[in-house]
């Protein structure tokens, strides 16, 4: 299988890439790791006339922390996320979760920004971003805007990102000593997409959960934020009864598509179970 014809551009600066995208508009498409886009192009699900490869733009790579915020360049590879000491210290959810994304070869090419901007509800980073209160820097020829992850994912392959814009950076508030986190992902085998997965990040003040965010993978047309379950748990001393009630809220919010990984009932049930497990593990970690 070979993609249809296109013209290839490999800019070395972001300014150059933005100018190319501005020039070609809907006929242009950004290439990150390519492990979603190139298969789609082979199948003619995507037929861009101009492909703008971001791999040579060094300013889009790298991870740093400053003033309590972790900055991740959108073209940072999954394996670089896994290897990052900055993330291990300030946002350990991401390296732990990225270990279960695809396989070593794909993680060398696949990028965190591509995983987010593609808008595939089966990708793992969207739910992780919802759980960690991330925001995204979107740059266009006319300037930049910073948008919250919550509200960015509009539907399958559909996000707030405009055709002339590039997602350049992910910003995540650094985890605190009282932050607990977990990503529980049910998958058929190592490297598979989630049958259902739940990301939980919470803060404990004493025994009270002062902050909680829950993101769900692959159980709706887009990554889902389980706000009703969060509302139930925020400000509470979380016990088994509350965890069960939150799992019920999560299952009520699910709208999965039936496929080889399971039918609607099974996936919904598993989203509930992954959430129970993720809340328990996050609580355990927050207690230290």
């Amino acid at each position: 299988m070979i993609p249809g014809s296109f013209e290839y551009h490999a800019p070395t600066t972001l300014a150059e890439a933005l100018s190319l995208l501005g020039q070609y508009g809907d006929e242009g498409k950004v290439l990150a790791g390519g492990h979603s886009l190139l298969p789609m192009m082979k199948l003619r699900f995507a037929e861009p006339e101009h492909l703008v490869d971001l791999n040579k733009i060094d300013e889009l790579k790298g991870i740093r922390e400053s003033n309590g915020v972790v900055h991740i360049g959108a073209m940072t590879s999954e394996n670089a996320v896994i290897a990052s000491d900055v993330l291990r210290q300030h946002c350990p959810l991401l390296p732990e979760a990225a270990r279960n994304i695809s396989d070593p070869q794909v993680r060398n090419r696949g990028t965190i920004g591509g995983d987010i901007a593609h808008g595939d509800p089966a990708n793992d980073h969207p739910a992780l971003m919802l759980a960690s209160e991330a925001s995204f820097v979107l740059k266009g020829a006319g300037g930049e805007r910073v948008v919250a992850a919550d509200g960015f994912f509009l539907g399958t392959y559909w996000t707030l990102l405009e055709a002339e814009e590039i997602l350049t950076e992910i910003r995540i508030p650094a985890f605190k000593p009282n932050t607990g986190y977990a990503y529980c992902k049910l998958k058929r085998k190592q490297g598979d997409w989630a049958t259902a997965a739940s990301a939980v990040v919470l803060d404990l003040d004493g025994d009270v959960c002062s902050r909680i965010n829950i993101g769900l993978t692959n159980v709706a047309p887009a990554a889902l934020k389980a706000t009703e379950a969060e509302d139930l748990l925020r400000g509470q001393r979380i016990d088994d009864a509350l965890i069960e009630a939150a799992a019920e809220k999560v299952m009520a919010a699910c709208d999965p598509a039936e496929d080889l990984r399971g039918d609607i009932e099974y996936k919904t049930h598993m989203a509930g179970e992954m959430t129970r497990r993720a809340i328990r593990l996050a609580l355990q970690r927050a207690r230290g």
Partner: protein, 161 residues
Amino acid sequence: MAKQHISFTLNGAQTDVLAEPRELLIHVLREQLGQTGSHIGCETSHCGACTVDMDGESVKSCTVLAVQANGTEVTTVEGLAAGGELHPLQEGFMEEHGLQCGFCTPGMLIRAYRFLQENPNPTDEEIRYGMSGNLCRCTGYQNIVKAVQYAARKQQSPQEA
């Protein structure tokens, strides 16, 4: 679409080739450069049969454009044996019966080549995780794990393996 000039190092040799932007690295390696060791399996980046080493990283060459190889250093299974001697991994796959039909083997070898540089003294579990991007439908993987362990031992102490 006009062909583009791609200049890269393939198995240590300076290599120049012309290809359309839509051509994938695996096609150029096999069809233009005659390096048919790397195989085309699933073509969707799942099976790992097309794995090559590019700038010190394992990649699936069915999902890398040939133009993206411009300026890089690529090693395929053809680059493993040196001076008429099998690479310790090739010897390991032979000794431990790490293959049956052999279709996945070039990808297995070139992935294991990089994996053992990332982790020279792995546990069986680490091998299974590190090789999880390569599928084998014959062996059940047990002998592949043994073959990688054989090479790890031999590379650490060449006399004993």
